[in-house]
């Protein structure tokens, strides 16, 4: 926690110095940005814009989880299926979605449904890839233990592969939430630029209200941090054994 505070202080100081050099109009200082942030909060613009986007976020992101988690596990467990299809998700992951957005307008229109589909496809590959990797990396040794106790194939799946997968599912959720928020904003910028947080950014950019633009972006960042902390909390409650596991190579939260 202390290191986080120190890094934050350094960052804000640098921002302040940069702003002093470039001028408040080009790069608003932290104080100006905070002022605009408070204004937008008080006026209720941020929460209103978020509320509009949230629906598409929940449906699109939720569907990506419901489809992506089982799909990733299936590809990981059925090796031949995995090697036949895994590269499509790697391809989808690096697809420049902002360039594809006009096609979504063409195919699905500009309403909330179109944004949901966009968020779904934007989030899906991230979730599939992480769950796929998890299912594939179940240690052979643990599967062998189950076999030595005469486990049937379904026991091997439900008592070895699936529990091993749990931390990967949470990692997928944590990364997926961030990805879905990004997808929401991109969709609001490029698909239906009439409402939402993306729309606010468009409007304030056009009027050169850089402080407000930064305030909206900060708000989106905070959303991402809060959401991923929430997922972490749930994970700590459900999978407390994870802190001792070194298989995923990812350190647990401080």
């Amino acid at each position: 926690m202390r290191t986080r505070i120190i890094s934050l202080v350094v960052l804000i100081t640098a921002w302040w110095a940069g702003s002093a050099v470039a001028g408040d109009l080009v790069l608003p200082s932290p104080a100006t940005t905070l002022g605009r942030f408070i204004d937008l909060m008080v006026e209720g613009r941020l929460s209103l814009a978020l509320g509009i986007g949230l629906n598409a976020l929940a449906v699109g992101g939720g569907m990506a989880v419901l489809v992506g988690v089982p799909l990733g596990i299936l590809l990981g467990v059925r090796r031949r299926l995995g090697s036949a299809f895994d590269f499509y998700f790697s391809a989808l992951y690096v697809t420049p979605f902002s360039a594809v957005a006009p096609l979504f307008v063409l195919w699905f229109g500009i309403d909330a449904g179109s944004r949901m589909i966009f968020i779904f496809f934007f989030t899906l590959p991230q979730i599939v890839i992480v769950c796929y990797q998890g299912a594939r990396s179940t240690p052979e040794g643990l599967i062998e233990v189950a076999r030595s106790f005469q486990a049937r194939p379904r026991d091997v799946f439900f008592k070895t592969i699936l529990p091993f997968e749990v931390p990967f599912i949470f990692t997928a959720l944590r990364l997926g939430v961030g990805r879905a928020v990004q997808g929401m904003v991109i969709a609001e910028l490029l698909i239906s630029a009439t409402q939402g947080l993306g729309f606010l950014i468009t409007v304030y950019s056009a009027t050169l209200d850089i402080g407000a633009v930064l305030a909206v972006i900060l708000f989106i960042m905070m959303l991402g941090i809060v959401a991923s902390m929430l997922v972490q909390r749930i994970e700590d409650a459900i999978a407390p054994w994870r802190h001792g596991v070194t298989t995923s190579g990812e350190a647990s939260g401080a």
């Binding site: 040794g141 062998e144 529990p163 596991v245």
Partner: protein, 284 residues
């Protein structure tokens, strides 16, 4: 020996490992027919053993001699290429409920507590939860882990983790215990303590038949009724040494002149085999 019945027999076992030789891509492009060249390594060649009911037999041999492979074939965890394994007179084709396997790296489930790990095999057999709990408690107490029931494996030391592994396997009450260097990854002090713990535990579980793979000669002599020495790869049975010390065995056995003499004999037998085994031999 309480019983001279043959419990487990291994007849003419043969195992060959095939691996693809990696080729660099340039050569592969020039000579595509070299692509799938395989290397064959004969791990076990005509291994036969008879293990009697209630007997503790250790298998020792130079690294890469196929002793672990032989043990895994006995539990049908890997298939043999020739020969067969019989348990109580019937041929083994899939892991058998009579057999309990104890793994070198413990093989504990990190998401299960000590109790849940010990209950694992019972769960698979469909034992009701209350009965399962009682059975698990009995074996947790037997291996000396009372008070650690709700710990996760990562909260335990290596020795304690293997105690969980032993309890988990004993809980299904197997007739035959197959142990693959179960103390191989423990430090010397813990290993010595665990050897005497295993003696104590098995004395209370008699008659359990046990096959124990190790490369620690002292460990083999301390625990066993007979020690099988395997030849270097391709592995087969070189000689079988009887270990006459009465049970229960205590610390004093190790220092007795008979023990030291047997250890010297085993060492000489093994050293002949170790000559010519290169460092790059794959793990057994």
């Amino acid at each position: 020996m309480p019983d001279q019945l043959v419990k487990l027999s291994v007849e003419g076992l043969h195992k060959t490992y095939r691996t693809k030789r990696p080729r660099d891509t340039f050569v592969r492009r020039l000579m595509p027919d070299l692509n799938s060249q395989t290397i064959e390594v004969v791990a076990i060649d005509d291994l036969s053993l008879e293990i009697r009911a209630g007997e503790f037999v250790s298998i020792v041999g130079p690294s890469g001699c196929g002793k672990t492979t032989a043990l895994r074939i006995m539990d049908a965890l890997v298939p043999a290429d020739g020969g067969r394994v019989l348990i109580n007179g019937t041929e083994v084709t899939a892991p058998r409920p009579e057999c309990g396997f104890i793994f070198q790296d413990f093989g504990l489930y990190p998401w299960r507590t000590v109790t849940a790990n010990v209950e694992f095999g019972l769960e698979l057999r469909g034992m009701p939860a209350t009965q399962r709990g009682q059975q698990a408690r009995k074996y947790i107490n037997l291996v000396g882990l009372e008070g650690f029931e709700s710990h996760y494996p990562h909260q335990l030391s290596g020795g304690m983790q293997q105690r969980v592994g032993i309890a988990r396997t004993l809980a299904i009450e197997p007739e035959i215990l197959l142990m693959d260097e179960p103390f191989g990854s423990l430090d010397a002090l813990t290993r010595r303590i665990m050897q005497f713990e295993l003696l104590r535990i098995l004395d209370s579980q008699r008659p359990t038949t046990a096959v124990f793979v190790t490369h620690d000669l002292e460990e083999a002599l301390l625990l066993s009724d007979r020690v099988v020495v395997m030849t270097r790869r391709p592995g087969r049975c070189k000689e079988i040494v009887d270990v006459p010390f009465p049970r229960p065995r205590g610390e004093e056995v190790i220092d007795s002149s008979d023990f030291i003499e047997l250890r010297r004999r085993l060492w000489e037998s093994l050293r002949e085999e170790q000559v010519g085994v290169t460092d790059e031999a794959p793990a057994s």
